[in-house]
Amino acid sequence: MIQVNDLRKEFKKTIKSPGLMGSVKSLFNRKYEVVKAVDGVTFEVPEGEILGFIGPNGAGKSTVIKMLTGILTPTSGTLEINGQIPYKDRKKYVKEIGVVFGQRTQLWWDLPLTETFSVLKQIYQVEDTAYKKRFDFLNEVLDLNEFIKSPVRTLSLGQRMRADIAASMLHNPKVLFLDEPTIGLDVVVKDNIRKAIQEINATEKTTIILTTHDLNDIELLCKRIVMIDKGKLLYDGSLNKMKRNFGQAREVNLTLFHSADAEKFKFNENFNIGQDDLHSTIDHKNIKINFNTDKVTVSEMLNYILKTSEVRDIAVKDVDIEEIIRRVYKSEVTL
């Protein structure tokens, strides 16, 4: 469905020295530098997949999305979506995609939602019957009816986001780009939006590219993620694989009855492995152990703990992907 090959985008940027003198200097003498916003990115997305596209701020995510949506022309490299090249025949291409930029709205600010929809219906030349069908579906998924008659500026952020997603779906696009669709929303609303995205994907087989900083979005929606930083691809694969590759995939937290018992635990000696594969911290009665499940299984770990001391409470958890990504960003780990 989507094929991206060695995609690059360079920008020219004015260098400005800081401070007042800097701006005065730049009046007379301007220097430019070439910024490689996207530096050779290659990936593919099959039809009907929800792809999580992640990376820290300024990583080049938006630039990639803008090239995929035909807004920007790549400096070099190829991209093909559904057999089309976005920047070549833009008008024809954009009929088949929907775009939501979470921080901007494409709705008409002073008018009710119905007005925006009727214009979009005309812009995308959606037939009456098809439109009605689409609208009913979107209304069911996104609950539009409760606010469809009020001017857009009076909508809450969550309502607006639902409206924006609906607006981008009216023409039944084959690919939907969602750029931070849950930004600034509360937990309940986020949940609703995620369910809606899932349902759209399941029912319509829409391919979805999702960028987000909320890793719960990724965990709940995407089987596969592509991570970029500084314009380069860092990781492309399934979420599970990333978790597996990331060694210390489990964390055990336990609380003891007596803090004196803590001294009985000698994790590294017992399993005979180094700090890289097992790391523990002790804080009075609380002990936290991060370990690599390839070296020590969870049951071995629990056996050892229960054998060594009496325990008031014990919890085993997945290391959350936030932690993984934080470390990848900091280049502590290569995937």
């Binding site: 920008f11 916003a37 701020n57 300024g58 990583a59 080049g60 995510k61 938006s62 630039t63 803008k66 949506t69 035909g70 807004i71 920007l72 022309t73 833009r90 008008k91 024809k92 954009v94 009929k95 995609i97 775009v99 930029f101 901007r104 494409q106 008409w108 002073d110 008018l111 007005e115 009727s118 214009v119 005309q122 812009i123 995308y124 030349q125 001017p151």
Partner: protein
Amino acid sequence: MKRIFKLYGTFVAQHCKRLMEYRIDFLTGAFSFLINQVINILFISIIFSQIPDLQGWNYQQIIFIYGFSLLPKGLDHFCTDNLWKVSYFIVRRGDFDKYLTRPINPLLHVIIEDFQFDALGEFIVGIYLVTSASIKLGLSFGVVDILFLIVAVIFGALIFTSIKIAFAALALWIKRSGSILHMFYMSSDFARYPVTIYNNVIKTIITYIIPFAFTAFYPANYFLTGANPLFNIGGVVVISVILLGISICIWNKGLGAYESAGS
């Protein structure tokens, strides 16, 4: 094309609804426009209270030229006001992306999306001044003249539109070009008076380089004196078509260079 017109209709209807929301705003805006026109006319009257004619042009003739200048300007103002927003903030805020994700020519989309009803004031004042000056001057309009008038107004408006497209397109490179557009747009004030009062440099500039003289004085000159229709009316058509071609080229180049906003 039919589709574009239909879409245009929908936008107009929407805009009317929006006007009703902000009707006080709309009324005060229109009223302030009227005040500005009255001041300008008052200014011309004060001048003519002291002199019999301005280098051979009498009061009513000047009023005719002034009134005529409002027609193409008003028409353009009504239709393509959104270009101002492109040059001032649509590109800078990154809202231009929207137009590029729609299956319509972005330039057409920008233009048909918004109108300025205030411009009706320009149009009405213009028609009033042209009519009253024509009556007082005893001008007679034949069928051909009326046809010429319509052609001159439409193609004159196209000159304004072309200039606006070219300088709005500049924003696609430099993010914000509103004031540069303002600068060139302001020079259309030159065209409200007979070009014969200017020196040769200005005359050449407003005839051939920023050809605003074709939006007002030249066509008005034909209606007032019947002189040289080929240059005065034909010139409007030729110049505006050339200018539009150039502007669209610049616009398309700008789209290629567009860098969007944010990371």
